[in-house]
């Protein structure tokens, strides 16, 4: 009977299929869950069981400065990225396609270019004898070169450069999904440009802004390469601290503790984003 045949095949394509995820699951369990758990355990087991690593980490001004640096840089990068990225995303969402294509190509090119190549470029551009200092001096805006690298200014510029595409692209999607007729309706209701923006466009794109901001903040908190190269040794961020404990100091207990702090902050913010600003849920 054809009917039985049909239901049989449905069973074939809709069986439970747990087997298919087993390779991925094995990989994740053995090389993700197990090592990360082990690392975190070492933070309370080494050198002796107890919370001394956390006490050392949270009780020292040196390490507190690292936390402060990390949050400061991540915060500034997030704010600058949103304030610059939002208007760009807005225009990109509505400009004629022949232009938006060019802008998108530039954004994607910068995003896909090797991270080290980009960071290297900023190291060269921002150095004392670099193009930016030379240009500013030639213009007579400054007398002697500004210190733009080996400090948090350099880190902020380099990280903003990396994070901007991550703000612009999703925000463009959010703004594109807003019906322009809603803004026309608002204008006919009597709202001027500023009111249209504050009362309609901004509230409608706010979930996208918050989600983008959280994402950039989280990514910035855990960033390693750019702070290590542009920040110099005296302006460490949290990810560098983790690496330093393990690589130079071979102190696995402290490394695990710093990793846990980073992990907890990251996952908490990520959970908030999932819970309240999941764009996939249409909210």
């Amino acid at each position: 009977m054809p009917v039985t045949l049909a239901t049989d095949t449905v069973k074939i394509t809709r069986e439970r299929k747990f087997g298919y995820v087993v390779p991925a699951l094995l990989l994740i369990v053995f090389f993700f869950i197990v090592p990360v758990t082990m690392l975190l355990l070492r933070s309370v087991l080494e050198p002796v069981p107890g919370m001394q690593n956390y006490a050392a980490l949270l009780g020292s001004t040196t390490y507190l400065r690292v936390f402060l640096n990390t949050f400061l840089v991540a915060g500034v990068v997030t704010i600058v990225s949103i304030f610059v990225g939002y208007p760009v995303a807005w225009l990109l969402a509505i400009m004629p396609e022949k232009w938006s294509r060019i802008v998108l190509a530039i954004i994607i090119l910068s995003m896909w270019t090797n991270l080290l190549a980009r960071t290297y470029a900023w190291m060269v551009l921002l150095q004392r004898t670099g193009v930016i200092n030379k240009t500013l001096m030639a213009l007579g805006l400054i007398d002697k070169p500004l210190a733009l690298v080996n400090n948090l200014v350099g880190v902020t510029i380099g990280m903003t450069y990396i994070m901007l595409p991550f703000v612009i692209l999703p925000l463009m999607g959010v703004i594109r999904s807003i019906d322009p007729a809603i803004l026309r309706a608002a204008a006919l209701c009597g709202a001027g440009k500023l009111q249209c923006f504050l009362r309609v466009l901004l509230p409608l794109s706010l979930p996208g802004i918050v989600a983008g901001a959280l994402m950039v903040f989280v990514m910035s908190l855990g960033y390693f390469v750019t702070p290590a190269l542009l920040g110099g040794t005296s302006n460490m961020m949290l990810a560098e601290l983790v690496a330093q404990f393990v690589q130079s100091l071979v102190n696995w207990g402290m490394g695990g503790a710093a990793a846990l702090v980073l992990l907890v902050v990251t996952l908490t913010l990520y959970a908030i984003q999932l819970r309240y600003f999941n764009p996939a849920r249409g909210k």
């Binding site: 019906d179 007729a181 809603i182 026309r184 309706a185 608002a186 204008a187 006919l188 209701c189 009597g190 709202a191 001027g192 009111q195 249209c196 009362r199 309609v200 509230p203 409608l204």
Partner: protein, 358 residues
């Protein structure tokens, strides 16, 4: 002569080489319900957008009570508009949506509350203030949009195919509501649609748009009884067209030869007759009579199909040259009892009810 309430004067709109609106002019009286009727791409929506200020015309002017609107930005025009899609602000409740224009105008809180209530009452959505738009049906959302457009008493309300997203039954229900609201508020309405039935049902007058121009403006019966162009004749009501040659014309009446040898006289002629004298003869299906006995002056046809339409019966026929002619007769008419497919018949008509378009 008194100044017209709303005057559209020679509006043109082109995008590069493409001309969307060629030369649209009309006067609209206060409180009138004017419909722009036409197929898509005929320029009716563009004209409406120019009125709303979403597009700047390439030429022409729009006067409201004698004052040009064009230099006024959309948000200062004080015009109401209901869109094809619902365009409610998804982050605001129904009450906040309706209050939005009043908040923008900084009206006192008490007045806002009162007017929002009145507007929702007008569209029969009392008590829905705290709902979110996403949780309402399409018809309800469109009524909220209507309340929002009317709450600040705009002198003119624009409606851009507001019912096209709704199903047929809901559409008729809301058409009725729109008529009632028009009566109750006396607001001047400019309504865009491609649906002739909707236009006839709602409007005081209809402007028929075709290829960026207004072919004719008039009441429904005027357009139906006296179409100015072949396009209007074809767009309003059902119609048959026959190729004909103008033999002679005098004082707007023409003598036509129908090609099969028959000649008809006294047909109202529209448009200037060309040298070749070619013309289209338009015949309304319900104005045709069918005879089963040979009529010398009639058009000889063969019956192709008979369709029962309730109170009417439509007989599809074809001339020997293969032109289809539909005839509509009341149910039970003697001419069609036992009429069979393939039978020969003759069609006759009152020449005054026919129209010729050169």
């Amino acid at each position: 002569m008194t100044e017209p309430f709303l005057s559209i004067r020679g509006i043109r709109k082109s995008y590069g080489p493409v001309t969307a609106v060629k030369n649209v002019s009309m006067d609209i009286a206060e409180g009138e319900f004017m419909t722009f009727l036409g197929p898509s791409g005929s320029g009716k929506s563009t004209t409406l957008y120019v009125l709303a200020g979403f597009q700047d015309p390439s030429g022409g002017d729009i006067l409201l009570k004698g004052r040009s609107l064009l230099s006024t930005p959309s948000h200062k025009r004080n015009i109401g508009m209901v869109f094809q899609r619902y365009t409610l602000f998804p982050h605001l409740t129904v009450g906040e949506n309706v209050a939005f224009p009043l908040r923008i105008r900084r009206r006192p809180q008490a007045e806002i509350a009162e007017r929002v209530k009145a507007a929702l009452k007008l569209v029969r959505l009392e008590g829905f203030e705290d709902r979110m738009p996403a949780l309402m049906s399409g018809g309800q959302q469109q009524r909220v949009a209507l309340a929002r457009a009317l709450v600040y008493n705009p002198p003119v309300l624009l409606m851009d195919e507001p019912l096209s997203a709704l199903d047929k039954k809901l559409r008729e229900e809301i058409q009725f509501e729109i008529r009632r609201i028009h009566r109750e508020t006396g607001v001047t309405i400019l309504y865009v649609t491609h649906d002739q039935e909707e236009a006839l049902r709602l409007s005081d007058r209809i402007a028929v748009f075709s290829q960026g121009e207004v072919d004719q403006i008039g009441t429904g019966p005027e357009l139906y009884a006296n179409p100015a162009t072949r396009f209007v004749a074809g767009f309003i009501g059902d119609s048959n067209f026959l190729d004909a040659t103008v033999v002679a014309s005098d004082a707007g009446k023409a003598k036509l030869s129908l090609g099969d040898g028959s000649v008809v006289e006294g047909v109202p002629l529209h448009g200037t007759s060309t040298a070749s004298g070619k013309a289209s003869l338009m015949l309304r299906p319900e104005r045709l009579s069918l005879s089963r006995a040979a009529v010398p002056s009639g058009i000889a046809v063969t019956v192709r199909d008979i369709t029962f339409l309730g109170n009417n019966v439509e007989v599809s026929t074809a001339t020997p040259a293969g032109v289809d002619l539909a005839v509509r007769l009341p149910f039970g008419h003697e001419a069609i009892s036992n009429l069979a497919r393939g039978e020969d018949a003759w069609l006759t008509f009152d020449t005054a009810s026919a129209h010729a378009f050169a």
